[in-house]
Subunit: 508 residues, 2 copies
């Protein structure tokens, strides 16, 4: 008798083969998109979009083929007796969930969404550079209409938003995240105000000097190597917007950007993307070419990037290790700095209009604002034409500032033009989880933070590998947090971390 | 009534859509392969081969779908009344030819060939570095057995070799090329001998000095820009083996290699690949995403690379224009050189064991040797185990040298391990055609060569665009040569060019 009766069955093998083709097509599309953002000459844009469209369509066709469903339904019965976290049971569970979502959406709607969001992305780019929200409004309305239909097709119990959120955070509902976010908001708004009153306490002028781009590049490579990113199985390149992408097992790449007047932009971009990349590099080969070969969710993903960027990268311990390296590359700019000076500089908090430039304290308020608005847009309670004013009003009440114009306000993010509603909350979830996971790690391995000061990142990384990365997407984010920390998602650790850190920095 | 009754018909549109998907998949595979050779980290190799395999298999499946044949056969009747070179008639003719070839080969054989050649390529790389032909022999035997079956499936009238050659040179047979090659061989062997007796006449020590790699890179970019390569629709990168690839309409890339001890290696690699790339950049958008969007054949392709690399790049006129540019980048190495010195240096001829390093005179003899051997291998008249000795003996009779070992002899090329038998003759055909086309161009536009001396390449390029590039693969190579030059393929112009040039260089 076979030792792996399910895995060795012809039906399971057939399923694996089908899923491998689907995954190959998706990864091929990832190669094409990586190239688009890094090296593609301008002339290639038109044909490249067609190619990516073809790959996505074929991938969807292969996945939603009725034979996939047949195999999944038959195997669902067979794997019942296997452990919940076994490869076979997890694979069938996850694939069935994805299959059911995918087949609820008619091909016609997939096509219309693809077309509408492509047009809307172009309209958004034009509108942003012309600071002309009105020209973008009809495209956003069209996207919203299609997303409402999408939510209806996917189905939901309480709120259409749940159907969209579920794409990025499997199993997560508004009713899960709103109570968390309210608690956070109620604590962060006064914290921002308190910091604003003592703005002069922290000086980051050190960062704002000319920094040679080649040397900045070298510095990011040193940081990535230090934290354990494997360059044999990945690489770093430059792009306008930093991102991480998996092009296949053993090939997880990231990009960064360089600001010649502030080396911390490239460094923290690289550490952020490096955190994402460590997660993907930690997913074992067994899960490759299956739907289990991804992160559990976007929020889980973001927990890793934020952990490395903020909890580690903006800690005193990290700078005790890393300042001498930065000084060796930038003796003129940093030669006289001490750990305390650089620690304070990289942790300066100040309300700003742009989310991607926000610090740890203000960042989440940018997210809550977006979540509240997109919920209202989706139900139609907020009209698109009223959106800019609603945006600005919320900005004022949360952060005490009004954007100088729509380009730096409601038009700053690409997400809505691409039809990604339900995506923003994953950023805030990632922030919350970064500290919940880190506290758990320290409670199990108290030496982790002090090791960082000696340039030893392996204690932390191996814990993350063991507890989080190696599971790929076997578990939903809720299940994962429970397994790792023994409790549901909680904001208290994160809030305590922020309050402690900023009370000390600003003498509150 | 429609102005384009065929083009506007639903069947023609359906055909175009099917072919576009096939092309998208092939171009996506080209992106994946380009990345493999340029930027992919080592860890990505395994999953990348799987992805390329999946794309190729799907592309083949889509193309050989019976519906493609149905549409093609119906449309073949409809386009009969349209001009031979019309888009519609050409498309159906070319696609039908490809379809019939593709459907004659069972999927089983395609799979076996894919697997056998993948194994053989690895075995070849190991065998070459260990200088161990015997370890490669069984893989070559397996390839040959499969290629014999392939030839039988494809069908042929006179010789199984014809079936394989037809893949690279549509419509070309051994009976077309052998008489040409014999004439060439009979003239080149004595020419090589005559040059060998006067080897001291030409000195290329100028080339063999340290040349800064950055500056070499700049020099190749200047050459490419000068000849008209469009960097908005392409780019140059480095790779171990230079190549050109089309990743989509508007995205034709090339690679080069740099020898820090000889700047001419990078320069001529770039001009060679640049010639290929100019061809592909000259194929009009109308033909994109169809089987007409390629070159007429590999030989035709090579005619363009050789024309720019040799006929232009190794001419006195080119160096009258280009020497000052090279001198500006390399004042120490080239400051004192004159046009005559560099012209002689880049045209030095000397028999060598390695094809890819061969000069204009000896290059074709490397090809004839391979063609003669692979013909005998295919029919089984030559046993694989006798191959190394047969190789060495031919080398001696054609070039007067014996390779130092098999690694630099019979194991030097990757082609046979990849199952590419019938490919080598296209290199010699390209050499022959480069001069036949160039002579025709000069007879129509006598100013072309003198313009090169002034850095004006447009007269030549626009002629090539008009007469060759814009047709894509509407014509077979034989048809194209007839249309362009008014005669069949002839070796006399090429032979006259070589004899004139080398008689003068070596005082023969």
């Amino acid at each position: 008798m076979s030792r792996h009766p399910v895995r060795d069955s012809s039906e399971f093998k057939e399923l694996l083969e089908r899923l491998a083709v689907v995954d190959d097509l998706a990864r091929a599309a990832a190669v094409l998109r990586w190239d688009m953002e890094t090296y593609m000459p301008p002339g290639g844009a038109g044909s490249r979009s067609q190619q990516v469209g073809t790959l996505r369509r074929l991938s969807h066709q292969h996945f939603t083929d009725p034979r996939t469903g047949e195999l999944l339904h038959r195997l669902a019965g067979v794997v019942q007796d296997l452990p919940y976290d076994s490869f076979e049971a997890s694979l069938v569970r996850r694939a069935l969930r994805d299959y059911e979502r995918a087949t609820r959406v008619p091909a016609r709607l997939v096509g219309e969404l693809g077309e509408a969001t492509a047009l809307a992305s172009h309209a958004w780019a034009r509108a942003r550079s012309a600071n002309d929200f009105a020209s973008f409004a009809p495209y956003l309305e069209r996207n919203l209409a299609l997303l409402r239909e999408l939510a209806d097709r996917l189905g939901y119990e309480q709120h259409p938003y749940d159907a969209l959120l579920d794409e990025y955070e499997p199993g997560m509902r508004l009713s899960d995240i709103e109570p968390l976010f309210e608690k956070l908001r109620d604590a962060l708004v006064p914290l921002v105000q308190a910091i604003s009153r003592r703005a002069g306490m922290v000086d980051d002028s050190l960062l704002h000097q000319p920094y040679d781009e080649q040397r900045q590049w070298q510095l990011t490579l040193e940081a990535l190597k230090a934290i354990g990113y494997d360059f044999e199985r990945g690489r770093q390149d430059r792009s306008a917007h930093p991102f991480t992408t998996t092009l296949g097992f053993g090939d997880v790449r990231l990009t960064t950007r360089i600001d010649p007047q502030d080396f911390s932009s490239a460094l923290f971009s690289s550490m952020h993307e490096g955190g994402h990349a460590l997660y993907e590099q930690g997913i074992p080969e067994e899960l490759a070419r299956t739907p289990l070969g991804d992160a559990a969710s976007l929020g889980t993903h973001e927990s890793q990037s934020r952990l490395w960027e903020n909890v580690i990268g903006r800690s005193r311990e990290f700078w005790r290790f890393f300042l001498p390296k930065a000084q060796a590359l930038f003796p003129d700019q940093l030669g006289k700095a001490d750990v305390e000076t650089i620690y304070r500089a990289v942790n300066r908090s100040r309300p700003g209009e742009v989310r991607t430039e926000a610090d740890e304290v203000t960042y989440n308020l940018h997210i809550f604002l977006r979540l509240e608005l997109e919920k209202e847009l989706l139900t139609g309670r907020l009209a698109v034409k009223e959106l800019p004013e609603a945006w600005n009003a919320k900005m004022e009440s949360y952060l005490g500032i009004r954007p100088r114009d729509d380009a730096h306000g409601v038009l700053q993010d690409i997400h809505w033009s691409q039809g990604m509603i339900g995506y923003f909350p994953t950023y805030a979830l990632g922030n919350v989880l970064s500290v919940q996971f880190f506290d758990q790690a320290r409670s199990e391995r108290p030496e982790i933070l002090e090791a960082v000061a000696h340039g030893e990142f392996q204690p932390l990384l191996s814990w993350l590998r063991e507890r989080i990365h190696r599971h790929g997407s076997k578990f939903t984010p809720k299940e994962l947090v429970e397994r790792v920390t023994g409790s549901p998602i909680r904001v208290e650790p994160y809030l305590a971390y922020l309050q402690r850190k900023y009370a000390e920095l600003y003498g509150l």
